[in-house]
């Protein structure tokens, strides 16, 4: 499903090479729920960017859903992001001028889907997160928890094989956070493959598997025992 081998990412910062990822091997099966945990500066964000095809690794191979995606052009990466990855961001990243349903339709729009198909699938996704009644609302008219649920609906709309959640409850109060966490669990139960990026150990415990990253190395990779 997702297979990374010997992934390295080196930045050049003021002439000094910074090794953000060093020989990272990472593997995931379909239907898994994996948490990637690490403090800031650990290379966690870089790993997320590589997994999410927002960034290309300096070296190594990366196979995603049967496709080699490590060395791709920006436009090819855009297609992969559109079809294979559903992003859920810490700060929701909804477009404020669009309504909830228009936001959810976006990935389908860039895929070239027709108006009716877009609307139907977006409604379906909103229904999954329990917000079909708020389709015509703008993000500003929704609570933080609702906004994050709209963002999850957007991630679901394109029906990607992987959901990539970057600190999804980091900006939410504990009650909304709970709701969103439950929703993610529900999605996992329904068979979605989920990667959760967090710096919070308690949240990481929610997942099936916990991958700890530090100084660009994966330092531990263990099943969560409940």
């Amino acid at each position: 499903m997702l297979d990374m081998k010997k992934i390295c990412k080196t930045y050049n910062m003021g002439g000094e090479p910074v090794h953000a990822l060093q020989d990272v091997d990472f593997y995931m099966d379909e239907g898994e729920f994996v948490a990637i945990i690490g403090p800031s500066g650990s290379g966690k964000s870089t790993l997320m960017n590589v997994i999410g095809c927002l960034d290309v690794p300096t070296s190594g191979t990366y196979e995603l859903d049967g496709k080699m995606v490590a060395q791709m052009s920006q436009d090819q990466q855009a297609t992969i992001r559109n079809e294979k990855i559903g992003f859920i961001f810490q700060n929701f990243n909804l477009l404020p001028k669009l309504t909830a349903i228009e936001n959810v339709e976006l990935p389908l729009l860039y895929r070239g889907a027709g108006a009716k198909e877009r609307h139907d699938r977006a409604m379906e996704a909103l229904d999954k997160v329990g917000l079909s009644g708020r389709a015509k609302h703008k993000p500003m008219e929704l609570s933080g928890g609702q906004q994050q649920r709209v963002a999850i609906a957007r991630a679901l709309a394109g029906n990607p094989p992987i959901l990539l959640a970057d600190e999804p409850i980091g900006n939410l109060d504990s009650r909304s956070g709970r709701e969103v966490t439950e929703l993610i669990h529900d999605l996992h139960q329904q068979g979605h493959t989920i990667i959760l990026i967090t710096h919070n150990n308690a949240q990481a415990e929610e997942a099936d598997r916990k991958v700890r990253i530090q100084d660009g190395f994966i330092v531990s990779d263990e099943k969560v025992i409940r």
């Binding site: 436009d75 297609t79 860039y110």
Partner: protein, 390 residues
């Protein structure tokens, strides 16, 4: 993603910041309106001048003698010789000046023209009443005159002018005819003209010299050959080509058209510069917009927008902006042209359609040209950095 959706996005982008969009468009609006108004008025006026000149007949040659003193004099014998040139149909010497005309207590200022019997015909003037100057009048220096309708109106309001007396610089004259009213045209009105035998005019103005002669050529094909023949004759006499010149109407028309073409070009150039300034305004605001919407671009890219999606979105926005400005400018331009045309009678209010099309095309092109750079900037943003942008 289809173009229709790009359009909707572009229009969304514009309506979400109406004041700013309007101010941005203002440059284009003013530029396009200025182009349309100025060029329409210039070409409209030119065509009305051209029309009135060509209505005088394009087979007319005007011979001007510039010599000093008696060197400049053309004699009647010489003019008789000209009539022998193949193609010459009519000849009318012209002695001109201006004069105060009095009848009873009324006074009028007239542009005095001394000429021969053919003058009216050659200048396509028609009589409303009476008769024109005859050869007999020329020979015997009769104190008679044909007057323009405006003079007739001033001097003899409500009366029949024909047969009435008037005084021109102290001499008694008899009115023999009245010209048909022409109304004012850009080449001057015939309504204030006063036409008398040139022999009479020479005496009245104490100026024996004939310095201007109108020559009517039978057909336009012969204009060139007659002109050459006259040039030869005059050169023989004066031995200096700077002492005379011969104008034909087509030459005047050409000069006029050249002048107005240059004028239109200048006016169009100035207006074009304002369009470019407007384009820079659009580029500026689009660059600001790209910066402001960096995050939006990042989100769109993360979700799967390709370079060309972002490029089209911003390019369409710039083009919609400039074309909307163009259309508003066209509306303003047409309105202003019509209003000016209605208020100023000597200017034509006809809108030049090619200019409307060209200026719209220009505003479209400006949207593309000045939109490409910002749109390209937007499309080239790195999604990670764009997402991180606050």
């Amino acid at each position: 993603m289809k173009l229709g959706q790009s359009f909707r996005l572009g229009i969304n982008g514009i309506t979400s910041n109406k004041l700013r969009s309007f101010l941005t468009m203002l440059g284009i609006i003013i530029g396009v309106a200025a182009v349309i108004v100025l060029v329409s008025l210039a070409t409209g006026t030119t065509s009305s001048i051209t029309e009135s000149i060509s209505s005088m007949g394009s087979n007319l040659l005007t011979v001007n003698i510039m010599g000093r003193g008696n060197i400049g004099t053309l004699t009647e014998d010489e003019m008789e010789d000209w009539k022998l040139i193949d193609g010459v149909e009519k000849i009318a010497p012209i002695v001109s000046g201006s004069a105060e005309v009095k009848a009873g207590t009324e006074t009028a200022t007239a542009s005095l023209i001394g000429s021969s019997a053919d003058y009216l015909d050659m200048n396509q003037l028609t009589l409303a009443q009476g008769r024109t100057v005859a050869d007999m009048d020329v020979e015997s220096r009769q104190m008679v005159a044909v007057i323009g309708s405006e003079i007739a109106e001033t001097l003899y309001e409500g009366e029949n002018p024909v047969g009435q007396n008037m005084k021109i610089t102290g001499s008694n004259f008899t009115v023999i005819g009245v010209l048909e009213s022409e109304g004012s045209s850009s080449t001057g009105s015939s309504d204030t003209r006063l036409i008398m035998p040139y022999t009479t005019a020479q005496r009245l103005l104490r100026n024996g010299n004939i310095r201007q002669v109108s020559v009517q050529v039978a057909s336009s094909e012969q204009v060139e050959s007659v002109k050459t023949a006259l040039e030869n004759l005059l050169y023989e006499k004066y031995q200096d080509e700077d002492l005379f010149n011969i104008f034909d109407q087509t030459e005047i028309l050409e000069t006029l058209e050249e002048t107005t073409a240059t004028m239109s070009l200048l006016v169009g150039g100035i207006a074009g510069i304002s369009l470019i300034v407007g384009g820079i305004g659009i580029m500026n605001i689009m660059l600001v917009s790209v910066t402001e919407r960096t995050r939006e671009i990042g989100i769109r890219k993360a979700i799967g927008a390709k370079k060309r999606h972002i490029l089209t979105q911003f390019l369409v926005e710039a083009v919609v902006l400039s074309c909307t400005g163009g259309l508003i400018g066209i509306a303003f331009g047409i309105a202003i042209t019509k209003i000016v045309g209605a208020l100023v009678p000597s200017l034509s209010g006809a809108v030049s359609i090619p200019v409307v099309i060209v200026s719209f095309g220009f505003s479209l092109a400006i949207g593309v040209v000045f939109g490409v750079y910002p749109a390209n900037q937007a499309a080239g943003l790195n999604p990670i950095e764009a997402l991180r942008y606050q």
